[in-house]
Structures are given as structure tokens and as C-alpha cells.
Amino acid sequence: MAVVTYLEAISQALREEMRRDPTVFLMGEDIGVFGGAFKVTKGFLEEFGEERVIDTPIAESGFTGAACGAAIMGFRPVVEFQFADFFSCAFDQIVNFAAKCYYRWGIPVPVVFRGPSGGGFRGGPYHSQNPEAWFTHVPGLKVVQPSTPYEAKGLLKAAIRDNNPVLYFEHKHLYRRIREDVPEEEYEVPIGVADVKREGRDLSIVTYGAMVHASLEAAEHLAKEGAEVEIVDLRTLAPLDKACFLASVKKTGRALVVHEAHLTSGLGGEVASIIAEEAWESLDAPVKRIGALDVPIPFSPTLEDAVLPSAAKIEAGARWLLEY
């Protein structure tokens, strides 16, 4: 066991998979010589050479299409988008090609699209977004978002080994802030399985990504007042592990759905709907959602803090539900 950061865990997964499987290779802007905008692939060029660590032009649609082609030909490309905000530049390749190729022609596309997502570090409107819901809406794509180093590594390995296109959202704010012991031996975190991060009987918070940590912080505060808050980390956003969060809500009778993405049409709406449909008779209070305000993410620190959800906002929402 060694203590690693969330970012190091991602690097480890990539390195181990490239050593294990010669068909795994990387593409992306500045990932080679520069080692990646966030240094995830630092040292990779030296170890694996320029045929497996490919610097691309700033042309997302083009290199995404190239990666899909390579995947069809038997490779397992991992594409780094410098920011998840720029998934939209390759939207057509991801949504109309990668997602539908197997359905349409029976040809698997085992590609991983990595996207550093999320705000909280004054990145402004083009470098702070959480666009996962654009893709959870598309059949044929898997979408994951780890919240811890252990999961970052295990989920990335599972994504690389999966025969479907997987969007892998890694939250920038967690890169160097979150660290933990990660086993040195081989393991995977299976796609499609959520995890209970904290047990409680009074309220379920269903969340993922960076908001898992904000929710844990809120739960700590509330625990001092005697409230036992359960936290469900979805980990995989498509396909959703309904059974996990439904069991939690049936136990507690109260649900708070939290994500950093914008509230309107966010994944939280889907989760809330499933709870309303399938746990209705257990509900003791309305299902409440917390997400970012429906405005572009501001550059101004004061405004960004006002727009994004936080531990304090989650605590307030949880308190409202607990007192309902």
C-alpha cells in the first residue's frame, strides 16, 4: 500500500494498463513532451515512446475520430481531453459514431475519453464545466466519475478493459487534494456499481465526484447534532446503480440528490425521478436536489462560490429535509 493522490492514481492506472496490454495507447493535446496539462502523463513518452503517447493538434473532433478508428481496428485508445468542457468539440464523433457503432454494425469501440471536469479553482466558464449529463442521455455510452484515488485507479482500469466507449470524468479539484492508500496489487472497481461512503438512517445523500467530499463534510457537521446521514457515491453515472440508492432511500425515507453540474436537466433529476417512481411509499419528505445555479461558471471567486454547491449549502439542504 502506498498513499497516492487522485491524479497519481490515474497515472498509475494508465501506466499499468499500458504495460499489461500493448494495444493500449494514449492520444491528446500536450500529453507527450509536456506530460499533459495536469501532468497525468509525465514520463510516459520516455517509457512508452511516441507511437503510444501521441501529441495531437487542437482538433478534438479529428483525433476522437482517429481514436475510434483505431479502436475498431483492435486497439484500446485512451483519449485525454484537456478539459471536459471540450468534449463538446467532438460531440458528433462520440454521440453519433462511438455510441452507435456496435449497435449499428456490430463492431465494438473500446475507447476511453478522459475529461478533467469541475470548478472551484477560478477557471471561468470554459474550464469548469461538468457536462456528464450530455452523455448519460446517450444509449451506448458508459459514464463514470470517481471520487477517490482508489476508485480513480480501479474505474480507469475497468474503463480501459470495457469493450464500450467510456467517458471518464476526473474532477480537477480532487487531483491533488485527495490522497489515500491504494493497493499495489491488481484490482478493478466495476462499472455500474455505486458505493455507500457513509452509513446513516436519517437521510440519504445521493451524489458523485467532488460533491461526495462536500457531502461527507456536511454529514460530519450534522452528526454532531445527532443526525445520521447516509452518503451514496454513484461512481458510475451510466448505467446507474438504482438498487443501491433505492435501498438507501427506502431505509431513510428522505433523499437529497447533489451534483456540481447545473441543476436543470442534470443527472439529479433522473435520480430524483427514479426515487419518486420506485421508492414512493417510503418517502417521508420531498426529494430535494442541489446543483450549480443555472448560469455559466463565473471567473470571479465570489461569484463562483455563490454559483457552485458547497458543504454549507448541502448542510442547509440536508437540515431542511431532516426538519421537514
Binding site: 417510503s282 431542511w320 421537514y324
Partner: protein, 420 residues
């Protein structure tokens, strides 16, 4: 929903004649309703703007339910909430309707301090609370008495759990002799089989069913019979039919003859024009004669008001007008209200006689059989006479057999000695 007769508890809105936002004047028709007794238009009680319709077409609601709001137009259209869909009205509980209203539970953006006005959310019961109450067989009254710890006194699932843990063990309910209120044992009930055609009861049918069951339960009904020789009336009717219709404008039927004889008998025996009020008997000042009219979908009983003040022609006209209105569904609520005694005439469909049931809260009902020729003994000779069997059902709580026979005898005498 207006009261359309004292026995009515609900009505169905069939049509709204105004849309929200439209102006309406006092007494202008606002909506149409159907009840088991009448179909009618309901006029607006005040002038103003129809701001909100609260009950949709096709929905049945209890008497006294607010079905729309008329105001000065200050309510913006955007605040209008959609009215309940058809059928929703059937989910009304018999409890205080306001107890279960759920409104305005919008989560505030920021955390709110505990609701300021206590009782505000007390009656709001979540699905979890209702599920738990059902599982634990808590009745609604007991449930509502549980102290609520939620915002505004709302009862939470945890409150119910605590109550169930802490409440004293309940006594086994005694009353082994009491009849189960839920309904008859299942072996008296029919389970539909494949091939059966199931037809829904109309509101009128359901109301009649309920009324008749109650009538049987709350009064002691016995029936007496007599035969009445109708030859004078038949002869008079045959001779005057055409002239009467020409001069009076209504056909000459047997019914007004019986009505007149009955009114005379009721004046002699006021106990038949009465109602039971606790341990008292209310003898009524006026005679309002209910006349049952068979319709395709059931039975309706329009009322000849103040029949005690009418002569024969007046009775004939009133009966004709009401029967006509009943068949063309133009009866007004006032037309079906307040009968003090009822005559029913199934004899017009043939048949010897029957045992009619009392329309509550009256105490007697007269049933007429068919007028049919029969051999009878007249002055020790056998004659052929048109005979009608009269059946009188009366409430034995306040009327004994002797009085019943005397009353029947009085009607018979008035009919047989008819003179105009």
C-alpha cells in the same frame, strides 16, 4: 356543489359553461350538474370574473365542495393550478377534507427556520407515514393524534415509529355481537366470472341503492293491501277523456284521481304525512305529494308541492307537468325536494301489486297496481268490475296495522265514491 335535495350527498359536474377568465353575471348559468335526482344548470351566486375552476367535468364531489372561484379578476392566470382529472373526486375520503390538503410544500432555496405558524403542516402525511400506518393498522384518527416533530407539526415516519413502540397495548375491541361495518361476509358476495358483462351503475342507480338499503335499516316497514273498484272512475274517464284534454290541455289519467283521494285521506290521517325525529313525530302542515316516474336509467320522484291546496284539475296539471319534465330531464332541484308522502304507480306496466319501500324520511308510500277487469261480488251477484289493488307500506314504528287499514280504506272509499 349545491344541495339538490335533502337526500343528496354528491353531484357530478357535466359541463362548465364559462372558462376561467370570463366574466359572469349573477344568476347566469355557470355549470351543469347531474345528480341521482336531477340534471340541471347551476347559476352563478355572484357577479365577477371566473378565476379558477377547481373541479373538472366528469368529477363527482360532495355537496358543499367549492367547485370554482369567482372574484374581481385580481388573480393572475398563471397562478391557476390544473383542476383534478376526471375520476379524482372518487378518492375523497369521508374525513374532514381540509385535513388532507397538501399544498405549498415548496422547499425554500435557503434553509428555513422551523415553520412559524404551528399546525400549518400538521395534516400533511407523507407516503412513508401512510404506508407505515396501513401496515400497523393505525386508523386515521389515531394517526392524526400522534405528536408531530416535523416542520409545522408535521407527523414524520419517525414520529409514527416512536408512537408504535411506546403506545400502550390496545384492548381487544369487544362488540362480538355487532355486525361488521365493512360489508357482508364474502360468501354472500358474487365474484364475476368470465363471460359476465359488467355494467357500471349510474350515479342515480347508486343513490337509489344506498337509499333503499338505508330505508330498510332505519324504519320498520310493513305493507297492507286492499282492492278498489274503479268502475265509476273508469266510466267518468272514458266519457270525459277527449273533453278534458281539450279544455285542460293535459291527458286524463288515473293518477290524479288517486292523488286527490290520497290527499283527502292524508287530511283525515295526518300520521301518514309525518316524519320521525328522535323520539318525536313531526306532523307536517302541508302535503307535498311525491309521484314516482320511471326512467330508463332509474326512478325519479318529482313533488307536487302543496297538493293539499289543489283541486282535481290542479293536481292533474301538476302531475302532468312534472312527469313531462322528468322524462325530458328538465326538472329543477326544487321539483324533487320535500315530498311528505309518495305515490308510485308500477301498475302502469301491468302487474297485480307490489310492496313499495318508503322514501326516507317519509313514513308511508302508496303503490298502485294495474286496473284490470275481474269478477267480483256486488250485492250478492257476480259482476265484472275494473279492479285496482292498492298497496300501502307504512312505518310500524309510529303507525299500527289498524291505522294502516283505516287509511287504505279511506282512500278506497274516496275512489269508489268518486264524484265530480
Amino acid at each position: 356543489m349545491p344541495q339538490m335535495g335533502e337526500s343528496l350527498s354528491e353531484g357530478t359536474i357535466t359541463k362548465w359553461l364559462k372558462k376561467p377568465g370570463e366574466r359572469i353575471e349573477r344568476d347566469e348559468p355557470l355549470f351543469e350538474i347531474t345528480t341521482d335526482k336531477v340534471d340541471t344548470e347551476v347559476p352563478a351566486p355572484v357577479s365577477g370574473i371566473l378565476e379558477r375552476i377547481l373541479v373538472n367535468e366528469g368529477v363527482t364531489v360532495g355537496v358543499g365542495t367549492t367547485v370554482a372561484e369567482i372574484g374581481d379578476g385580481a388573480v393572475a392566470a398563471t397562478t391557476a393550478s390544473p383542476p383534478p382529472a376526471a375520476g379524482a373526486g372518487h378518492f375523497r375520503s369521508s374525513h374532514e377534507p381540509t385535513t388532507f390538503q397538501r399544498r405549498g410544500a415548496q422547499p425554500p432555496a435557503a434553509p428555513a427556520p422551523a415553520a412559524s405558524s404551528s399546525g400549518e403542516k400538521r395534516g400533511q402525511l407523507s407516503p412513508a407515514v401512510l404506508s407505515l400506518a396501513a401496515e400497523s393498522r393505525l386508523d386515521i384518527q389515531e394517526l392524526l393524534e400522534i405528536p408531530g416533530s416535523g416542520a409545522g407539526g408535521r407527523i414524520s415516519r419517525r414520529d409514527v415509529e416512536r408512537y408504535l413502540r411506546e403506545r400502550p397495548v390496545r384492548r381487544e375491541s369487544p362488540a362480538p355481537l355487532q355486525r361488521a361495518p365493512e360489508g357482508p361476509p364474502s360468501h354472500y358476495l358474487y365474484q364475476p366470472e368470465p363471460g359476465d358483462k359488467l355494467v357500471s351503475m349510474s350515479p342515480m342507480r347508486k343513490q337509489i341503492a344506498e337509499h333503499m338499503i338505508w330505508s330498510q335499516q332505519i324504519s320498520a316497514q310493513v305493507t297492507s293491501f286492499t282492492e278498489c273498484d274503479m268502475h265509476r272512475i273508469v266510466r267518468y274517464r272514458d266519457e270525459n277523456r277527449a273533453r278534458f284534454e281539450e279544455t285542460e290541455g293535459v291527458p286524463l289519467t288515473f293518477l290524479p284521481f288517486v292523488a286527490e283521494a290520497t290527499v283527502k285521506a292524508l287530511k283525515e290521517f295526518p300520521i301518514f304525512n309525518a316524519s320521525v325525529v328522535g323520539d318525536q313525530i313531526a306532523l307536517k302542515k302541508h302535503i307535498h305529494l311525491g309521484v314516482a316516474v320511471a326512467l330508463e336509467e332509474g326512478l325519479i320522484v318529482p313533488v307536487v308541492a302543496n297538493a293539499d291546496e289543489m283541486n282535481f284539475v290542479g293536481l292533474a296539471r301538476a302531475i302532468h307537468r312534472l312527469a313531462d319534465a322528468a322524462r325530458s330531464r328538465r326538472l329543477t332541484p326544487a321539483d324533487v325536494r320535500g315530498a311528505t308522502f309518495t305515490i308510485t304507480n308500477p301498475g302502469m306496466f301491468g302487474g297485480l301489486t307490489g310492496t313499495p319501500m318508503i322514501a326516507q324520511p317519509q313514513v308511508a308510500i302508496l303503490g298502485l297496481g294495474a286496473v284490470a277487469k275481474k269478477p267480483v261480488v256486488v250485492d250478492d251477484a257476480i259482476a265484472i268490475r275494473p279492479i285496482m289493488v292498492l298497496a300501502l307500506t307504512f312505518d310500524h314504528r309510529i303507525i299500527d296495522g289498524a291505522t294502516g287499514f283505516q287509511f287504505l280504506e279511506s282512500i278506497r272509499r274516496h275512489l269508489e265514491e268518486f264524484e265530480i
